[in-house]
Amino acid sequence: MKTELWYKKLGYVENPFSIKPAFFNDEVVGYDAEVDSLIKKLAKGEVCFLEAEFGKGKSTIIKYVINEFVNHNKIIHISRNKSDRALDYENLLKEANTGFGKVFGLKAKKVILIVDEVGKINQKDCEQIEKFMKSKNIFSVLFADVSFAKTNLTDSLKKKIDKNLIKLKDLIPNDAVEIVKSRISIEGIISDDLIISIFEKSKRNTRSFLINLEKVFRYSFDNGNQKISSNDLTCL
């Protein structure tokens, strides 16, 4: 790289606007109620569905949930779209086990199963999940995808989800400012108004917002500026 990276000029080791879910293990901004509700339901052994468009924060919330439970429960986190065929949940439960249980090929108990991208889920998947819920190997389940209505979950599982469908609402402008503050120290670098402008140009989508923030910051600092001005938004 010939020029110094803009975020290194600001004193950061990594890109502060990384789109990788929970890259900085930060709190989830704007969805406190949804996350609290989700954690309570999973702790009670329920089946939940997290519904949101691309880039709204599903994967970040999933990572947050994993961090909450990882010291108390075994967790299986899978992306269902990684395979065209039904997954082997018995094998996944054995792999999730630890110590002697794993050595003797036993299935883990009280597992929290998190299934992201459920688009390819089929009847065989659902039957296995329900079977292992009955046998108490799977304690609770979280499904996540763009649309609950368009999934192929069985009626039985849909009934279990029932009121546990959590839809992520659009964030508000103040949330956008909070997101930026959680990533960088903004004093003297960017005003709240400019943050909100970039947020609106990103159609209030968190991932697009982070990508656009990075673009504006790179544009501005590579041009030798010390702070973000409204002119810098022309690069969007």
Partner: protein
Amino acid sequence: MWFESFGYNYSPFTIKPLKEKTSLIGREKELQDALYFLHTGSMVFVQCEKGNGRTRFLKAIIDEFPGRIIYVDSNKLKKNLDIEELLIRKNGLFGKMFSKLPQEMILLVDNVENLSPVNLERLKFFFDQNNLRSVIFTGDSFKNSNLPDCIKHRIGNKIISLRSLSNDDVKALILERLEFEDGQSFFPSDLVIEVYQKYGNNLKDLLIYSELAATKMVEEGKEKLTSEHFKNLKQEFNIMKYVDESLIDEDGTTIVKVGNYYRNPYKDVFCSVCGAIVSFDEAVCPECGSKFEKEKKEKIKTQPKKKKTNTSKKPKKVKK
């Protein structure tokens, strides 16, 4: 071979990007952008017409990240490959022994149009988990690519377009390959541009036809290329016979050009009209819409293996 009489160890018109040691001409800004995106942890799409240097561009990136890069050409992947297994294999001995995925690797996926949807979903998952720090996809066009929405969303506006090279860039590129001063080279600069434009401003075609013309030049005992050497090349040559091993696949099979693609008729199942990879049970080409003739599988299995180019006018799948 013709190039030996000029003192070269291998053809200066080679189309093997990984063999090419010259500098990346005319794409310096695009390279800086790509390197920036890779450092910052991104998914990127490099769009460029086939034959205009995208693999060469990726090679320049590989040179900047020694050891941390995995390069994959989707054209050469087996249809049922699980890309997770490929990543584990590339993670060295430790990865292979313990079936561990790498962390923070950089993945370059050339010709992404041939990567299966399931493998794309896997890549997305590994990117989110930071097994892959950054991913670059290459293809003809981001808008028309087969990338699922979840990946397109992660790419966002990180699209690098490799523009066609200017005439000066093309001249400089050829001169650097020939290692001659202009005026002394056997390939005059004006002729370079004339040929480049004749073959639709496509770098790969310029190199292939220059190879053939140079062969003709040496056979005639001449020392300088002229326009005459570039006439009737398609009719005079079995086009693949005289180029260097670039167009021979690893198993020794001659690769054929179909549409904009180079295909191995013994390994690939492709549409004979446009060259797109298709699956055996498809009735219509997903790229050009041609309908395939019904063929009995038994008939295909008993056909003897012999080299032939697919000259059929009717769209049909070819499988050996």
